[in-house]
């Protein structure tokens, strides 16, 4: 049955059999008891393929604690609205008033007036929202119903006109044992809440200002555009020109040309919204004179407007994607850890543009697969009542006829044990088909039974009100209390997520979370030591080949604890290399300069390290870099050579609106020749190497001996061009 429900998920069908989140439906939890009324909060597909429903429970009046029902009954008797009721501890035990009340309540059906009958039926339609949520298999769904929040302007009797319609006015919170009117909040009144409104406007009958100076001459906004100053044709023409100039400018600017080798891409870049927006601004600035605009457009070389999408290098984009995977959309962290040279604004703008890229679409597909566990709606075929089920035995027509309507003509009879009181009635009460359906849905029969106690939950164990009772029982152990959806805030989810991170609960791969939490494993000094000491026991190499095999930590622990200092010391691997001063390293390099039979493998870098380009600093300053990073012996920009001529191109920074230097350095490759590598390995301590690798912005304090440096850089011009530097350096080695 469950599998059939799951299999039919994708099946098309009428909306009547489609269950969506937010729908109200019946659940058959017990075959003899009435249905449970639930609201679907979430549809979950389990790994086994079953569909589970996380649902908010509504309970009927009879499901409430007895004491509470009494209190309600008192109010109802007096014809009053039920106010908020709180149960205290005493109420749970004391039962005396109840009986007295119940005795009074007895009413023969013969003496029932129409009004009372209607009241009886209305009682079946009133439910209470609870703060309980539970997970139920979708296969238990038996049909749809609707639960309304009763509005005061409605007559309650209007709910009797339709089937499967309920209303609620109160919320039952079993945790704090309170029944409260479903009313969210009040508008507060007081000087702390209202605005100070003068009793009349500042303008008198003659249009004169009477007090204050309401005529605000202060400009509150900057005009950016006036309509009807330029014709549509003029504007369109200018936009076209702006785009053309942008395309040309990009073609001339070697930096762009490298990034966007095809004309299509260049033209697309020149047609982005920032160009259009700038065109409009420019037109306004030039007083909508097309000729003035054009003059400005090419005054100092072609004007290029770039947005973040274009300004970011491929490397930065890669870093960003990596960061997104690692941190999710925590841009603050992304900025701090991976893209410190970008501003928050730039990152966010880029993020929203990145979402339009193909890469994002791919990512989204992956996420969509992840989210498959969460369903939007399920199809459940109409429930056909199966009378072969043992609990619904078909009986002979009873002597008394149907307990509710006294009919003796019916195809199916159902054993009905009423409200528990009557369950010992051995000749068996029977309900006809129709009344049975009514019982299942509304939890009562239409007839009022004389002396019948409707308040039954605690007395009638025969009918397991599973959800409610179980929840109450388990309440002390594990609260299933959930906030109503509107109170669940974004931050609560964040918190939840955060908690999961803290627990390093990697196996708990719930589909709620879009991105998996990252693990950061810190090995303490002690742990490192233990690892070394226990090497013989757990055989790291062997273990590494068997990643899924558990390592028993007990013997290692024992060994470590028992081991004397000498053993520990012995086990400690001696540092094979000593920390050497950087100057010594430099000296060694200089000494070996030219000696080694090095090939100038400048054109084929084998290993490269990326240095983040700093867009704010002036472009290429090899001399400065040389001073601080003498190892970057071969620095050259990505482009293999400079273009034959570099036109003056100005670029408007989209954020500041200011012109920025267009030729900001591209990615730098740090090419390491084998000699250098060797030397570095020899003289630099491992931890120093690693440290420099981790902190990219750190300028490593390896400073050369000035004299040596002078010699090293002796042949360099004061401000060499990149290729010059490259050739000089490669020849110098």
């Amino acid at each position: 049955m469950e599998s059939s429900a799951a299999a039919s998920v994708a099946a098309p069908g009428g909306s009547n059999n489609l269950y969506k989140v937010g729908d109200f439906c019946y659940f058959e939890v017990s075959s003899s008891g009435p249905y449970q009324i639930r609201r679907i909060d979430e549809l979950l597909k389990s790994n086994a393929g079953h569909v589970e429903v996380r649902a908010t429970a509504f309970c009927r009046k009879r499901d409430l604690p007895t004491k509470l029902q009494e209190k309600i009954a008192v109010y109802e008797k007096e014809g009053k609205d039920v106010p908020d009721v709180f149960l205290d501890a005493e109420d749970d035990e004391d039962n005396s008033t109840y009986n007295a009340l119940n005795a009074k309540q007895e009413n023969g059906e013969d003496t029932m007036t129409e009004e009372q009958k209607q009241k009886h039926l209305l009682n079946h339609r009133e439910v209470y929202l609870t703060r309980l949520t539970e997970n139920l298999p979708a296969s238990l769904i038996r049909g749809k119903c609707t639960v309304y929040l009763w509005a005061e302007c409605e007559a309650k009797s209007s709910y009797l006109k339709e089937n499967d319609v309920y209303f609620y006015t109160h919320t039952w919170d079993h945790n704090i044992k309170s029944l409260t009117r479903e009313k969210g909040g009040d508008i507060r009144v007081g000087s702390g809440f209202q605005a100070d409104v003068p009793s009349q406007s500042n303008v008198d009958g003659n249009g004169q200002v009477t007090n204050g100076s309401p005529v605000e001459d202060k400009e509150y906004a900057t005009l950016k555009w006036l309509p009807n100053r330029a014709t549509d044709v003029e504007i369109d023409n200018f936009l076209m020109m702006m785009r053309s100039v942008g395309t040309l400018g990009r073609a001339l600017d070697w930096n762009s040309a490298v990034k966007q080798p095809s004309l299509h891409l260049t033209a697309a870049s020149a047609s982005r919204d920032i160009t259009i927006a700038s065109a409009m601004d420019l037109m306004h600035q030039k007083d909508y004179s097309l000729s003035n605009c054009l003059r400005d457009l090419v005054a100092e070389g072609p004007l290029i407007c770039r947005d973040q999408m274009e300004l970011w290098t491929a490397t930065e984009a890669g870093l960003f994607e990596e960061a997104l995977e690692k941190y999710g959309k925590d841009f603050e962290e992304i900025k701090q850890d991976l893209l410190p040279w970008k501003s928050m604004n730039q990152i966010i703008e880029y993020y929203y543009m990145w979402k339009t890229s193909d890469r994002f679409v791919q990512n989204k597909r992956v996420k969509a697969a992840d989210a498959e566990g969460r369903l939007k709606q399920i199809y459940i075929p109409p429930y056909i009542f199966d009378d072969r089920l043992p609990s619904n035995e078909v009986f002979e027509a009873p002597v008394r006829g149907c307990e509710s309507c006294f009919t003796k003509q019916c195809a199916h009879w159902y054993a009905w044990n009423g409200f528990g009181e009557l369950r010992n009635n051995q000749d068996g009460n029977r309900l006809c088909n129709e009344c049975w359906q009514y019982w299942k849905k509304y939890g009562d029969i239409k007839r009022v039974i004389k002396g019948e106690r409707k308040i039954m939950l605690q007395h009638g164990p025969a009918i397991p009100y599973s959800a409610l009772q179980k929840a109450e029982m388990e309440n002390s152990k594990k609260p299933s209390y959930m906030l109503p959806p509107n109170q669940r805030t974004a931050n609560a989810q964040l918190q939840q997520r955060h908690n999961n991170n803290m627990n390093m609960n990697m196996t708990h791969n719930r589909s709620y979370f879009r991105t998996r939490p990252a693990i950061y494993f810190i090995a303490t000094q002690m742990m490192k030591q233990v690892r070394r000491v226990g090497e013989n026991i757990y055989k790291p190499r062997r273990s590494a080949r068997r990643p899924f095999q558990w390592i028993n930590s007990a013997p290692i622990k024992e060994f470590y604890q028992n081991a004397d200092t000498a053993t520990v010391q012995r086990c400690k691997r001696q540092r094979s290399r000593q920390n050497v001063k950087a100057t010594a390293v430099a000296d060694r390099i200089m000494a070996r300069k030219g000696a080694a039979s090095e090939k100038g493998n400048v054109s084929q870098p084998r290993s490269k390290q990326v240095f983040p380009p700093d867009t704010t600093s002036p472009p290429f300053q090899p001399s400065k870099r040389m001073k601080t990073e003498p190892f970057n012996t071969t620095i050259f920009p990505t482009g293999s050579s400079m273009p034959p001529f570099a036109p003056r191109v100005k670029v408007r920074n989209p954020l500041t609106g200011r012109l920025v230097w267009p030729d900001a350095p591209e990615d730098f490759y740090y090419h390491l020749s084998p000699t250098l590598k060797q030397e570095r390995k020899r003289y630099l301590a491992t931890h120093e190497m690693k440290k420099s690798g981790r902190s990219q912005r750190l300028v490593f304090s390896v400073v050369m001996n000035p004299a040596k440096l002078q010699a090293f850089l002796g042949s360099l011009p004061v401000r060499p061009t990149a290729p010059e530097v490259a050739s000089t350096l490669s020849s110098s080695l």
Partner: protein
Amino acid sequence: MATQVPTGPVRGDYEKKVSYYYDADVGNFYYGQGHPMKPHRIRMAHNLILNYGLYRKMEVYRPHKATFEEMTKFHSDEYIRFLRAVKPDNLASFNKYMQQFNVGEDCPVFDGIYEFCQLYTGGSVAGAIKLNKRQTDIAVNWAGGLHHAKKAEASGFCYVNDIVLAILELLKYHQRVLYVDIDVHHGDGVEEAFFTTDRVLTVSYHKYGEYFPGTGDLNDIGAGKGKHYAVNFPLRDGVDDASYEEIFAPVMRKVMEFYDPGAVVLQCGADSLTGDRLGCFNLTVKGHARCVEFMKTFNKPLLLLGGGGYTIKNVARCWTYETAVALGVEVPNELPYNDYFEYFAPDFKLHIAPSNMSNLNSTDYLSQVKDRLFENLRHMPFAPSVQQHDVPRDAMDLDEMERAAMDAANPDERVPQALKDRIRERENDNNDIAEGGERSGDRDLDVNGEMPHSNGMSRKRLLPEGFADSMEDDNQGRGILNGAVSTSVVALAGTTAEAATVEPMEVVTTHTVDAVKNPDGTTTVTTTEQTKTTAVVQ
């Protein structure tokens, strides 16, 4: 007003002057990971507006940042000081205030929070000032509309209540301001701020019951002097276009009739659209924009603000279309290419289709609520007398402007549209004004459920539909014009070339000045003017 939802393009009955406020920085504020509120949606809407060519049809402004002084006209100093000082890095030192100001959960502290508040508030206030100066007919600030913020408390993604500040600004010039809220959430911040005043009438349509913020019961009608000046229409899940129209138009028509505000503020929260991440209504962009279109027909200074909206592609669609509606411009259903075009996959269309969710608002329920609201409205003292200070000024003002404009207008040029509109607005005044100024300041005056037809207010009515068309026909020479229409013909006669064939034969202008001594010793002066014109079209 037809009850059915229009399927065709927006009719450009009245071409309005629209001022649009936008700051390019606003899209780059980020509430935090997983937070549904995304200021980026404003940028998406803007880019659509730009690429649809709507941008070039409006006055576009970049708002200045609202100052501390401006914000504290409503908010408490302490609260704004807190907002100004708090940053994600120094959160810890503000720990004790977080609870007090309800900052942290729904309303996180993010990078640039104060600047964000300044920007969206600046736009709304600037729009209000623009309207006050009568330099525009409709001011639009999609970044604004954060209606949950309280005097000294953040709430529901809102920090500074720009709406309240904008209304306070409008109140300097207008005796009565109407606030209408079509966000799926109740506009509790604005309602609370003006709960005890009769100078602002707040109307909110919202989902009610087990829903944020919880307020907005049908029975919340205001308190003290402001009793009956808060109108709440609680709704259930799944409201569709037809139902919404059914409840919006009649109620608003009644409200306009009874209250006759000087200016209207419409909060266009887009979370009432179908498929919203947080909302539960089933409105389409067209149904949503119908409200804007309807409010526009009253020819009052109109401030359009944003608000909620958490399925951002639909928010951008909605506000773009509503900008077009404000301008009275038709836009094609095909979305123009823009930076965020891919967001609108898979159909890349402007309009959206409703979902198949069931509408839990039965016709019965809606009409019952509607009846109850009408009942409440009837209790509202019709047009409180203090208003009379304001209204005559309008009349004087307009007359002067009309005359001045007529004198100064260059016959070779078209009359500015804004002027034309004002001239048109005036016409019906004559019909409504009979005798005036009798009303005393007694607020408890029982009107016996009857609506006095005229009382010296210049009540501006919705112009009959197709008015513009009929006027044009007449201009082409179909005989004698009289009554309401003639005034504008006269006004146009001297100024437009096309109307040159129309000569005013007789213009009779009567000024009536009524001075009424109020019990408190002040004098209420009411000026009414009646212009009778007969024109012969040759």
